[in-house]
């Protein structure tokens, strides 16, 4: 019974999507860390991708609403900073969804330490590796802006972090 409640709560929370990248759920992103249920009291633990990510307030609100719809009221939502989120927490299916959505998924760790490292992102539209970085900072805190030299299309790439 307890395990069942936890499962229902988890499934409700796991459907919440990132308001800025609506194809990704917070479970895909690795933002959802834990869901516990004690005596009907749900506690959800989340972690921000970036400290100033403005999506976190909306995500917390949507978690609460998803739980209410699933019959859980008065949920507690806890934000933790440690361990620090990294792009490696993005799930394999999350990476596929990003690519299908037109955003290049991040490289697996490594390289970002190099001050002038040549980070490369393959074009999510035509698949070409011949791309160039246009701007380190893109439309949200977690993305940068690239252009494909083959198909000439600009595209967003998830920052390696």
């Amino acid at each position: 019974m307890v395990a069942d409640a936890r499962q229902r709560a988890y499934e409700a929370v796991a459907t919440v999507t990132d308001p800025e990248i609506p194809v990704l759920t917070i479970a895909d992103l690795g933002v959802l860390r834990d869901v516990t249920v004690n005596d009907g009291q749900v506690e959800v633990t989340i972690t921000p991708t970036y400290t100033g990510c403005p999506a976190m307030n909306v995500i917390a609100l949507e978690i609460d609403m998803a739980l209410v719809r699933a019959g859980f009221t008065g949920a507690k939502i806890r934000t933790v900073l440690s361990p620090a989120w990294t792009t490696d927490w993005l799930t394999a299916s999350g990476r596929e969804k990003l690519l299908a959505y037109g955003i290049a998924p991040p490289d697996r760790a490594g390289g970002r330490r190099a001050l002038f490292g040549e980070a490369r992102a393959a074009c999510p539209l035509c698949g070409s590796g011949d791309t160039e970085l246009l701007a380190e900072f893109g439309s949200t805190a977690c993305k940068s802006l690239y252009r494909c030299r083959s198909c000439r299309e600009p595209f967003d790439a998830f920052k390696c972090h």
Partner: protein
């Protein structure tokens, strides 16, 4: 008629004081950078400076939140209800943006200090500081790369961009001494392994500066008189103007929420 105030008093233990110093640095610099929104030279830089501002304000919130938990206040009270003399930020963070080259010079000088600071603070004996540092360090590494690349482009660009970048460096250099100041409260935290010793970061900072300036064909300004005072609440005239804008709503309607 009685005189009322919307200001709050803060019990500044050494740890609270240090957290406020770092939080105020991030908040005030974030606020300054946000002034570029809609005004930056290109759309990409508009986004970049707004993103960096957002990171810094996010860092300040985490620091205010922790400081507040130690002194019985919340992040909004700490940001909105302290007077200029209670602000503990580095003077460099409150200086006017100037032109784009001057803003980039400030970002470079500050990021080259704060990025290794957070990296060291990841091994703090205080678990919350270590957690905040691990988040902040990933972000400041990006900020440092952004500022370094721009400084090289400006310094090694046209005669005019070179002149402006050099002028920005000369203007801001006297504010860099404050990065490395240590007073008695900070020393007690250094001794306890709670925060890094900035003196140990000086050589790394200096060599980073030299490497990037050489690539930018810019000249390192001479060390002379260094400004001081931000850490004890003695600020330049600019901070009051920032706070007037930043705090207006909470001063007019204390505790307002929406």
């Amino acid at each position: 008629m009685s005189v009322t105030t919307t200001s709050i008093a803060v019990d500044e233990t050494p740890l609270v004081l240090h957290l406020l110093r770092r939080a105020d640095d991030a908040l005030i610099l974030g606020h300054r950078l946000s002034e570029w929104t809609g005004n930056a030279p290109t759309l990409e830089e508009d986004l970049a400076l707004a993103n960096i501002a957002l990171d810094l304000i996010g860092q300040s919130r985490a620091l205010f939140d922790y400081a507040g938990s130690l002194c019985g206040l919340d992040e909004d009270q700490l940001a909105y209800r302290r007077d200029a003399r209670q602000y503990r930020n580095l003077l460099i963070t409150e200086q006017l943006n100037g032109d784009f080259a001057c803003t980039i010079a400030r970002q470079f000088l500050y990021s080259a200090f704060i990025d290794p600071y957070w990296r060291e603070a990841m091994s703090s004996s205080d678990a919350t500081i270590a957690a905040i540092a691990a988040k902040a360090e990933k972000e400041t590494a990006y900020h440092l790369r952004h500022a370094s690349e721009w400084l090289i482009r400006l310094g090694d660009g046209t005669g005019e961009s070179h002149r402006r970048a050099q002028a920005g460096l000369e203007e801001l250099w006297p504010f860099t001494g404050e990065f490395f100041e240590v007073d008695a409260p900070d020393q007690s935290l250094i001794d306890a392994g709670t925060i890094p010793d900035p003196a140990e970061l000086h050589d790394g900072w200096s060599s980073r500066i030299n490497t990037i300036l050489a690539r930018a064909t810019l000249t390192r300004p001479k060390d002379s008189w260094m400004q001081t005072g931000g850490r004890t609440g003695r600020h330049s005239e600019h901070l009051g103007h920032i706070l007037a804008e930043l705090q207006y709503l909470q001063r007019s309607h204390p505790g307002a929420k929406w």
